[in-house]
């Protein structure tokens, strides 16, 4: 929020002025009201730290991240470019595999990938050739203030409900802030999302112009259940569980009080492995037997597409800039964070020598698990990772510790600087659209670099400022 000389950055000036008019008590009280509001509305996620699963609200920090219009324009373009390339990559990988034939990506990286569903997803004809209905791309800002992509989420990115609820609570608790800012509204975004969803009507739909879409959830015990409820409600579609659906004659139906009703589009929020016990994990009780066959026959559409996981893991991540050049013949607008592959001998040696300065991540895990943050690690932890890497180098990547830009947070009656990242949501239908803003996540533990909510992270409202009298957002 501040420049080096202690003055607020220009796009934070007005906010800073208003903030100065509050007493600490005022702020504390408002902050409490905001936190309670989340609990009362049941906007919680489930923490599986004990057997029963505890419900918690994500801590909310009321100081927004403010993004000036020119910066946002760059992000928006960059995100569209990236998702476009990733979608072409998915289409290619499950069809001709031209990119492998041209040797741009090592074949074993795809074929050994546990999320590569060759058998289930190869050669499928899918509506609009679109595999990515909703993507969540995580960005960070480095010490120069430049945005960089940290991670792509192309399977079941969660958190969109928080974007809306953060804004809603913020408006109720701090109406003072909104008068003097021109902020891009989120109001039409969910109709955009609905439109994008409905554009995936399958080939054999009975009514292509009014397809019946549903959101498939694992159920109310799932950590992201609130997200599912919110999206289903706002899009006006049924929220269904696997047991509500049945496949008959390769068509999907939902069980209603008046009998069976045909379903055209399934926005699934359960993982590939659980979708259909006939085609994937036979143990799963969550899914719908026969679903894949119905999909294959063009009787139902499934978004996000099956097998997207092959494109969003941490190893493939490093190749996304190459994909953008390969498929689009463009230079990436938003850069990656530099990444070392530990399968390469040279890189591995370099990394093993400099572990205390690097971040090491398991390519298969997310959510802040199985990672080493060199500068914050003990000797023993570093040695542990050294062994892990030597044992299974292909399983790990390393990145330089970026001096992340920090934003102020207000917790426990005081301000302090915290690391933030930004999840940007990209919606894919007939065209790509980007939700103006996104979910800013903040590492509320002082000094911590991990923003994930299961590791004590919190949320912030994200304001994209309008350009002059721009009404486009």
């Amino acid at each position: 929020m501040m420049e080096m000389d202690g003055k607020p950055k220009s796009h934070y000036e007005q906010f800073h002025d208003i903030l100065n008019r509050f007493s600490v008590e005022d702020l504390h009280e408002k902050n409490e009201t905001a936190q309670l509001s989340f609990l009362r509305q049941g906007i919680t996620f489930t923490v599986y730290s004990d057997k029963t699963g505890t419900e918690r609200t994500m801590p909310f920090d009321f100081i927004p991240v403010i993004i000036p219009p020119d910066q946002w324009e760059q992000i928006e373009k960059g995100m569209k470019q990236r998702v476009k390339a990733l979608n072409l990559f998915l289409e290619d990988i499950y069809n001709d595999q031209q990119i492998l034939k041209d040797g741009l990506i090592p074949r074993e990286l795809i074929e050994d990938n546990p999320y590569y569903y060759k058998e289930q997803a190869t050669g499928l004809k899918i509506p609009n050739d679109n595999h990515i209905f909703l993507a969540g791309i995580d960005l960070i800002r480095d010490h120069n203030g430049e945005y960089r992509v940290l991670e792509d989420n192309l399977r079941n990115p969660s958190g969109m409900s928080y974007v809306f609820q953060n804004r809603f609570v913020m408006r109720r608790v701090f109406p003072e802030f909104f008068n003097s800012h021109q902020i891009c509204t989120l109001e039409h975004q969910l109709s955009n999302l609905h439109e994008a969803l409905c554009s995936h009507a399958p080939e054999n739909s009975e009514d292509k112009h009014h397809p019946i879409a549903v959101l498939l959830t694992p159920g109310s015990y799932n950590a992201a259940y609130y997200d599912h409820v919110f999206l289903a409600q706002q899009m006006g579609i049924e929220l269904v569980e696997g047991r509500d659906l049945v496949v008959k004659d390769d068509c999907v139906y939902m069980k209603t009080i008046r009998g069976l009703h045909r379903v055209d589009i399934i926005y699934r929020r359960i993982d590939d492995d659980f979708l259909d016990p006939k085609a994937f994990n036979p143990e799963s009780v969550l899914g719908v037997p026969g679903l894949l066959e119905a999909y294959r026959k063009g009787n139902v559409a499934i978004t996000n597409g099956i097998g997207n996981g092959v494109a969003d893991d941490k190893a493939i991540y490093a190749y996304v800039p190459d994909m953008i050049r390969y498929y689009l013949d463009e230079e990436p607008l938003i850069k990656n964070v530099e990444t070392y592959f530990l399968r390469d001998k040279e890189a591995r040696e370099h990394v093993l020598e400099n572990l205390e300065e690097l971040v090491v991540k398991n390519v298969g895990s997310s959510g802040g698990y199985d990672m080493l943050i060199g500068p914050h690690a003990t000797k023993a932890e570093i040695e542990l990772f050294r062994e892990k890497i030597i044992q299974d180098p292909a399983q790990y990547i390393a990145q330089p510790t970026i001096k992340l830009s920090r934003a102020p947070a207000f917790q426990k009656e005081r301000f302090y600087p915290c690391h933030v990242d930004l999840r940007v949501f990209v919606m894919g239908g007939k065209e790509l659209k980007v939700l103006p803003g996104g979910l800013s996540r903040v590492a509320l533990k002082e000094g911590s670099l991990v923003v994930n909510s299961s590791q004590g992270g919190g949320g912030k409202d994200t304001w994209v400022l309008k350009q002059g009298s721009d009404d486009s957002c």
């Binding site: 609990l39 009362r40 509305q41 049941g42 599986y48 699963g53 989420n153 399977r155 079941n156 990115p157 969660s158 694992p218 159920g219 109310s220 015990y221 799932n222 950590a223 992201a224 259940y225 409820v229 289903a232 409600q233 049924e238 929220l239 269904v240 569980e241 047991r243 509500d244 939902m254 069980k255 209603t256 009080i257 009998g259 929020r269 359960i270 993982d271 492995d273 659980f274 009780v285 969550l286 997310s366 959510g367």
Partner: protein, 331 residues
């Protein structure tokens, strides 16, 4: 509407109604306790009836041999093993609401959720009566508020109807249960010429919040016949059995557009049979033991209607909370 969701709504309404009714019974008993000058033996019998109305007497007896008020309150309010404890009813109602969240009014969920968190705040081991009293009041208020939200903001569609039917059926059954227990008591006491039954019928009225309404219709003397007539067949008191049954009938008829189809025939038949029985029944002519039988039978009918209702609309059994627990990771 999805069958599973309809089922959740139906059970949500039943659990809210059950929590409210049991709160009122417990609350009325706690107040009576303050002025009971009777011997311990009488007090014990009074608690028996409360357990029988709010839970299952035989279940209680299996666990406990004493009738210590603290133990009973603990059992009725908090005990995890008692499926009808207030804590459980609220928990179930909230879970039901949660799995139908996308189609119920936002405030309905908020209200249930808040009541749930407040009930969690009471220490389940070291509570005192003041806290319990507060909780009972809060549950009753929650029930009133949720009904207000439902009445004032829900469109009169199937969602609304399923909630209403759950409420009416639960309410009818509870009134029948209260009267059944009281008839049984009165019948036993009849062997004792000293006893006066006044107390039972007053308690019955208090348990259904009907004392005020009764006094407006009947002279301020409380007789068994009048109370029974009032609580069984009064067409204007919203907790009389007949009132509730009529409303279930109307709701189903509305939902089916006044038509009996092949799939709804059994349901219409079952409700109609109960209605006819009421019409034929002359409360005032029945002996106490006949009434007891009638009420027993009525409770069976209620269960039967509930069962047929579930079958007609493809409802499923409420999910066991351990099923569907899933730990797959969502990124």
């Amino acid at each position: 509407m999805l069958s599973r969701v309809a089922d959740s709504l139906y059970w949500m309404a039943r659990n809210i109604e059950r929590a409210e009714n049991n709160s009122r019974v417990l609350s009325a008993r706690l107040i009576n306790m303050l002025e009971a000058s009777d011997t311990d033996a009488v007090a014990e019998r009074d608690w028996e009836e409360v357990i029988e109305i709010c839970a299952s007497f035989s279940d209680y007896k299996q666990e406990y041999s004493t009738f210590n008020p603290d133990t009973i309150v603990q059992y009725l309010a908090f005990q995890e093993q008692n499926p009808n404890s207030l804590a459980n009813c609220i928990g179930y109602a909230r879970d039901n609401a949660k799995s139908a969240r996308e189609i119920i009014p936002h405030e309905l969920w908020e209200c249930l959720n808040e009541c749930y968190w407040n009930s969690i705040d009471v220490d389940r081991q070291y509570w005192n009566l003041k806290e319990v009293d507060h909780l009972l009041r809060e549950i009753k208020l929650m029930s009133f508020t949720t009904q207000g939200v439902i009445e004032s903001s829900m469109t009169r569609d199937e969602t609304y109807t399923f909630i209403q039917i759950g409420k009416w059926l639960e309410r009818a059954e509870k009134t029948a249960r209260i009267l059944n227990v009281m008839c049984e008591k009165a019948r036993k006491e009849a062997e004792n010429p000293e006893a006066h039954h006044y107390y039972y019928w007053l308690a019955a009225l208090q348990f259904v919040n009907g004392h005020d309404a009764y006094l407006k219709k009947y002279p301020p003397t409380i007789s068994a016949k009048d109370v029974l007539a009032f609580l069984i067949t009064d067409g204007t008191f919203p907790r009389s059995i007949q009132y509730c049954v009529n409303h279930v009938w109307d709701a189903v008829k509305d939902m089916e557009g006044g038509k009996v189809s092949h799939y709804s025939e059994e349901l219409f038949d079952a409700i109609e049979r109960v209605k006819i029985e009421f019409d034929e029944m002359k409360i005032k002519d029945l002996q106490m033991h006949e009434l007891g039988e009638f009420l027993d039978q009525f409770q069976d009918h209620c269960n039967n209607i509930g069962r047929i209702f579930s079958k007609t609309y493809y409802l499923i059994e409420p999910a066991d909370s351990s099923v569907g627990v899933m730990t797959q990771f969502q990124n």
